[in-house]
Point group: C2
């Protein structure tokens, strides 16, 4: 295929970008694939942008040719956000990776969208500052904003929703918008920042961000406690949150996941439901929090409470948690993980988890559950052979039941992975009339439907 | 004027609402007036709605007749949000004042938009829960959401932006939208909640809300400390925030305001810049925070640090703070307060305040400054005789300079009062191209421009 003749958009983009526009198949395929089980759909071309102005020029060319534009950060999303089912351009922002300004006095940083969270935290460490949002993967901060990412620290520090002060975004017509100034709060106008956070590249391309930062806590303490059943663990979480204990992380691993972590990370945790917690604060307040949590855990049947105040021990535990997906996959080598997340009010969490556990009991699937339970958010990783249609169908069935159950418990079809392609079918069940409002906004801001078409909103 | 003949919308509304639709002049005038210096513009009629369904029916009738609809809570806004410059209907939601469900385990409450924050907190007290957002006035929670209210506790608990989980809103076509479920976080679709929060009734009428709640802290401690100059006070605030001290409130009063409070509330505070702080937590953590803050204040020239751990002493201090507007007005009886707020990054706060203080030095106006300085937010209350054109013009001049200075310092033209009528002229200076995006959204969601026309967006 001679793309130069068939796709004039690519021709014009090549004139603008030279070698930073490619149609190489391996690069296109790598840009149509995320870390999920969703099928790969490569774009027609990949552009590596280097500035907001250039992104604006690229979008103008694409708009002129009605050529789809799909923003790409690191490709670590989990719901098919970056695939190109309608072809078009993958707009790779990874070369926009400059940290532009750290305002230590204001606890904020202005940076380009391609900076990853680990790169940011490495840069900040010597200043005694950090950015807490941690979705596991070393995602780009632009991608994390676009998908409203959260992760283990969200119970204490919030999600990307709460931690973006200001975005620079290129809209569908190529115009460049700065959504806010650096003030911590504002009552001036519609909240364009929050409209773009979580819009998955369908309303604008995020090119720069100003993020809130935090001082690295004076003291950090982690600990683990096992429970005879998951209900005890969840009740301990509820009481922890209710009493206002400012836990920084509180992660649940079911017994299947604990066994997977033991094998993968060479640990010897009791094979039982487990909570992994972390406290941030002064030496005195961390000690007080730990003591209170230990008491709460004990009241709900928790066993011996092991503290890991030393950095090495902490790191080992949290590495095991971060590797839990790989540990799960290693349970059945060769299979893929059908990964999904839901989030419910914390009082309904036990019901949400037990429903899925019941479904799994009568199923041949191996499927660990892990969760950021302080938020009522949990993940199911079902191991499936993608070639085995019956197995995939069974996983889909359990998945759909998990999502519909979460909705019936006043929860959401996704706490943090987003909609992408994978959960479009649930959006109407969750939002009802709200979907019409979303369509109206999309239509108004992207009338040609060039920004990440085929994602988020149901067709 | 026979309104029944002239305005068929009113005719139809009366059929729907009976005695809950009025055209009485005193009631109309009371609904066109807020607590600000902005001129009164009464609506053509006032409706007292009792349910979301009824609001939907009202909006449908108004849409059919292109009759403006202005949502009204308690009328305590400060930028002319509720006036009716184009006539139409004031839709009073104060009779929608039912608290529908408290979920203590999930720390949330579902209520109607007309419930006021004090009514909610009175209701919650016995459950050991509270809702922290406190703009001073006993505003309705629907109005607080619509104006993105914040106040003294925002530095610790966030603003309405962070504390609304879910809204029920009637859109311009009468459709009823629920923006979210009760989960603490979600990555499912556009953030309609945050789009409506702060939209000042121009995109939809908020009729019900689900709000986050918090446990009443085990211990609360308040204290005051005076400084020889305001720079020392502001530096103490910056260091407090930077070191991550979880201060619940940190309020600045300049010497003019302190003197006003002394007179009005019969206190004997030193007439000097002052910080009024509050800490929430366990007994031990509050004591630790207090000690740390005392040290920081001392380092920046702060004088003797007086603690008020007892509830009566605390109440007296905070009552004085809450009455600071009345105290200011009492400085020059008969004058009105031209009240405004701006918000800047905390590192620019001293510059923002000193610029205004310089302007005031060469002016005859008396104008105290108070601020929620932990957020970089402060208020200027200029006492003016509305009949004295020169005085009003001088106040406007200083006001405009304060706003433009805040914008030049990377701040916002309003941290919490909103745009309303009063700050429309600054929106473009703050948001640039973003205003076009806001116009597009408004046009798409309210094509007939019936929802609070003439507010927020520049003409």
């Amino acid at each position: 295929m001679n793309e130069r003749e068939e796709l004039p958009a690519i021709d014009e983009l090549r004139t603008l970008l030279g070698g930073r526009l490619t149609t190489s198949l391996p690069i296109r395929e790598a840009h149509g694939r995320d870390e999920s089980w969703h099928p790969v759909a490569p774009p027609d071309a990949v552009a590596f942008a280097t500035s907001t102005k250039e992104v604006s020029e690229i979008v103008r060319i694409c708009a002129q040719h009605r050529f789809p534009v799909i923003a790409f950060g690191t490709g670590t999303s989990l719901e098919g956000h970056i695939s190109a089912p309608h072809g078009g351009l993958s707009l790779d922002l990874s070369r926009m990776n400059r940290i532009l300004e750290v305002n230590a006095a204001d606890l904020d940083v202005h940076l380009e969208a391609g900076v990853t969270r680990k790169a940011l935290n490495a840069w900040l460490r010597d200043m005694g500052l950090f950015f807490p949002i941690d979705p596991g993967a070393d995602a780009s901060l632009g991608g994390m904003a676009a998908t409203r990412a959260s992760g283990t620290n969200a119970v204490r520090y919030g999600t990307m929703r709460e931690n973006v002060l200001n975005l620079t975004a290129v809209m569908a017509d190529g115009s460049i918008v700065h959504t806010a100034h650096r003030a911590r709060k504002s009552a001036a106008g519609y909240d364009l920042t929050r409209l773009l956070v979580g819009s998955e590249g369908t309303l604008g391309i995020i090119t720069e961000l100003t993020l809130k930062l935090y001082g690295i806590p004076e003291a950090i303490a982690s600990g683990v406690v096992s429970f005879p059943n998951f209900e005890g663990a969840i009740d301990a979480v509820i009481e922890t949150i209710q009493t206002g204990l400012p836990v920084a992380r509180i992660e649940f691993l079911d017994e299947v996941q604990v066994e997977a972590c033991n094998r993968y990370s060479k640990l010897s945790l009791p094979v039982a439901p487990l909570l992994l917690v972390e406290f941030h604060g002064s030496e005195a307040s961390v000690a007080e929090q730990a003591e209170r949590f230990g008491f709460i855990a004990g009241e709900h049947g928790g066993g011996a409470f092991e503290w890991a105040v030393k950095a090495e021990e902490r790191t080992k535990l949290w590495e095991a948690r971060h590797n839990s997906l790989y540990a799960a996959l290693a349970l059945q080598p060769g299979k893929k993980g059908l990964i999904s997340d839901v989030c419910v009010p914390i009082s309904r969490l036990a019901e949400a988890i037990s429903g899925t556990k019941e479904d799994l009991k009568s199923s041949p699937l191996v499927a660990p559950i892990v969760g950021h339970v302080g938020d009522g958010n949990f993940h199911l990783i079902m191991l499936v052979d993608p070639e085995n249609a019956a197995e995939v169908a069974e996983a889909q069935r359990i998945h759909d039941r998990m999502v519909m159950r979460a909705l019936s418990l006043d929860g959401t079809c996704t706490g943090e992975h987003g909609i992408g392609e994978g959960k479009r079918k649930f959006l109407a069940a969750e939002h009802g009339e709200g979907v019409a409002v979303m369509h109206t906004i999309k239509q108004a801001l992207d009338p040609l439907n060039i920004l990440n078409p085929g994602k988020m909103l149901p067709a």
